[in-house]
């Protein structure tokens, strides 16, 4: 009785939506500190610096990853200063808006095909199945301006106002190019539903959005990606917080949790933008499968379902090899001036030993995975159907997260490579280059589709 009602509660569509939303927010929140670390350490190494390497737990510094934890604790426990001169209602609302928008865009991104829990219950692995998912994304990214704009205006200070002003102008101008390059993809896939778009890209690599329309898709991707940099206020276009000119731009007056909100919103926007790019242009949760050449199988959900054992075996063996090598190299070599200068007994000298153990254990875990995979592959062990379904869903999620991380890494990489554009250059690129380019692309894609349709029909 209780079990039945619990089952009914758990399988209620509303409960499922809440669970999926929590998963999405959880994923974004988990990746954010990782991105913070990636940004700090990556930028440091690009600039021949050391980067975060001080905070440690019993001598374990994890190449500065501990700093991510420390940063969060520090920022959350700091004093929340509310300046006297701000317009408080809007000032308080701005970080909330920013962070809400950053998280809620992610909800329409599919992270897997339908999950067949049982014969009656099929859960689409997408936070919210919205028919007009692409429109929803466009609508929310336009709303994202409000967070920055309200923060800049309500801070009641000239630098913040200028930051907010720049940001709103920039986001509004780049929205057009972004929207039009999305239109190219809408024409190519013939649907606004992101789940449908992701499903249409299954099978061959050449079903992916970037390969649509004989190169038009790739150009649309370029336009979209540049516009995404402007939308997320990332480096070549991060004029709203140009620190040399505007102190910190719109979040100058914020501290503690409110400041974190803006920070998390920035990372959330990065993740969302990467996820949307991956879904629209790079096949979403689909594996880059060979297009059926030379007898190679097309790798899609069904292939994973049929060959889960093989996949587990490959992942297990690959992980084992990687971690076995890592356990020989360890993390944190004891060469260089720093380690020679450490006094004997310093906890940090134990670090390589610790990582050696960790990597060895991970290699062992992957050995187990490989063993399981091998057993499944030769048919010694039969996995229950539900587990297979979940396995396929997890593989899809992992592929999507990998694509998101690649996108985020490219954002970090570009940020520490190129200098900031001047404001008029920014506007020139937006209005004189990207907007016409995206318009031409829309027409080209429309023409291509019409001709293609004429040929095939």
């Amino acid at each position: 009785m209780i079990l039945a009602s619990l089952g009914a509660f758990l399988t209620h569509p509303l409960t499922l939506v809440v669970i999926k939303a929590l998963v999405v927010v959880g994923v974004v929140l988990q990746i954010s500190p990782l991105l913070l670390w990636l940004e700090r350490k990556g930028s440091a190494y690009m600039q021949d610096r050391n980067g975060p390497n001080r905070a440690d737990i019993f001598g374990i510094r994890a190449a500065g990853l501990v700093h991510a934890v420390v940063d969060v604790i520090k920022l959350l426990t700091k004093e929340d200063v509310v300046p006297e001169h701000v317009y408080k209602p809007f000032w308080r609302a701005a970080p909330v808006i920013a962070v809400t928008i950053a998280f809620s865009t992610m909800i329409v991104v599919p992270w897997g095909d339908t999950l067949q829990v049982s014969d009656e219950l099929a859960v689409p692995l997408q936070g919210a199945v919205i028919n007009g998912g692409v429109l929803y994304i466009l609508a929310l990214t336009s709303l994202g301006v409000y967070g920055v704009m309200l923060a800049g205006w309500a801070s009641n200070n000239k630098y913040s106002l200028l930051g907010g002003l720049r940001s709103s102008a920039q986001m509004v101008s780049y929205e057009l190019a972004m929207g039009l390059s999305l239109v190219v993809m809408i024409i190519a896939f013939g649907t606004l539903d992101l789940g449908e778009i992701a499903r249409a890209q299954a099978g061959s690599v050449f079903n992916w959005g970037v390969f649509k329309g004989a190169g038009i898709g790739f150009l649309a991707f370029l336009v979209f990606w540049i516009a995404v940099f402007a939308e997320t206020n990332r480096m070549p276009f991060d004029l709203p917080e140009a620190e040399a000119e505007l102190v910190a731009g719109y979040h100058t007056e914020y501290s503690s949790l409110r400041f974190v909100s803006f920070y998390v919103a920035e990372f959330g926007n990065m993740i969302t933008a990467s996820a949307v790019t991956a879904t629209l242009f790079f096949g979403g949760y689909n594996f880059p499968s060979p297009p059926g050449w030379m007898g190679l199988p097309t790798i899609d959900g069904d292939w994973f379902r049929g060959n889960l054992g093989l996949v587990l075996l490959l992942v297990g063996v690959g992980g084992m090899v990687v971690f076995a090598i890592a356990s020989q190299v360890a993390w944190g070599r004891r060469t260089g001036r720093f380690y020679q200068a450490l006094k004997p007994g310093d906890a940090r000298l134990r670090e390589p030993k610790f990582w050696r153990v960790v990597w060895a254990l991970l290699a062992l875990a992957h050995l187990g995975l490989a063993g399981l995979g091998g057993a499944v592959a030769v048919g010694a062990v039969a996995l229950p159907a539900l587990l297979v379904e979940f396995g396929v869903a997890i593989i899809g999620l992992n592929i999507l997260v990998a694509k998101i991380m690649i996108g985020c890494w490219i954002m970090v990489w570009v940020r520490w490579t190129v200098p900031r554009f001047r404001y008029d250059q920014l506007m020139d690129i937006g209005w004189k280059v990207l907007l016409p380019a995206s318009m031409v692309l829309v027409f080209a894609m429309g023409l291509f589709e019409v001709i293609f349709y004429q040929i095939t029909a």
Partner: protein, 191 residues
């Protein structure tokens, strides 16, 4: 005066994208190099690793002593006179053991005011004050603690060993943080 003509970009350069890719190649090469060999980074990781200090470096002051352990200072007031920062306080008195001799009962240097010019060392006729300790981490939690007293400066090193470094090599336990024997290559001598 005519304004400078803006630099005309080549057609390829004006697209930015190729140039950005070239830049990304450079940053990636630095990243890979530094991940592979982080010990090659030019950073001195300060509290553990230190830059070499020159022989003539003027660190914290010390007072040298005679063989019997008394400070060499005869309270002649040359150093407070020479001090441009007016940070040396000397109160003179007669030596109870030797009424002919004048000694300082108080000899204090306010390190918050000191500008480390070394004039006191130059002015001293008795070689009683030196700045060869190589101590540059002069810090305290209160202003009062920043005033170095006679006893502190006398015991900073064993006063009758004139060469600070030799003394530190003999007494590694007393070596200040600025002098670490276990980092030999960081403190190259000579030259």
């Amino acid at each position: 005066m005519s304004s400078p003509t803006p630099r005309k970009l080549k057609t390829g350069t004006s697209f930015y994208l190729v140039e950005i890719l070239k830049g990304m190649k450079i940053t990636l090469s630095h990243l890979v190099k530094n991940i592979r060999a982080p010990e090659g980074l030019p950073t001195f990781e300060y509290p553990e690793v230190r830059q070499p200090i020159a022989d003539r470096y003027r660190g914290a002051h010390r007072l040298t002593t005679r063989p019997d352990g008394k400070v060499k200072c005869v309270a002649c007031m040359c150093c407070p006179t020479a001090c441009p920062a007016d940070c040396i306080t000397i109160v003179a008195a007669e030596d109870p053991d030797d009424p002919i001799e004048k000694v300082p009962v108080r000899f204090e240097i306010d390190m918050l005011r000191c500008i480390y010019c070394g004039f006191c060392v130059e002015a001293c006729p008795k070689d009683a004050i030196r700045m060869d300790t190589r101590i540059y981490e002069i810090n305290a939690y209160t202003r009062q603690d920043m005033i170095h007293t006679k006893e502190y400066m006398r015991d900073l090193m064993d006063g009758d060993k004139p060469d600070a470094e030799a003394w530190y090599r003999d007494h590694p336990d007393h070596a200040p943080p600025g002098f670490r024997l276990d980092i030999a290559q960081i403190a190259p001598r000579g030259g």
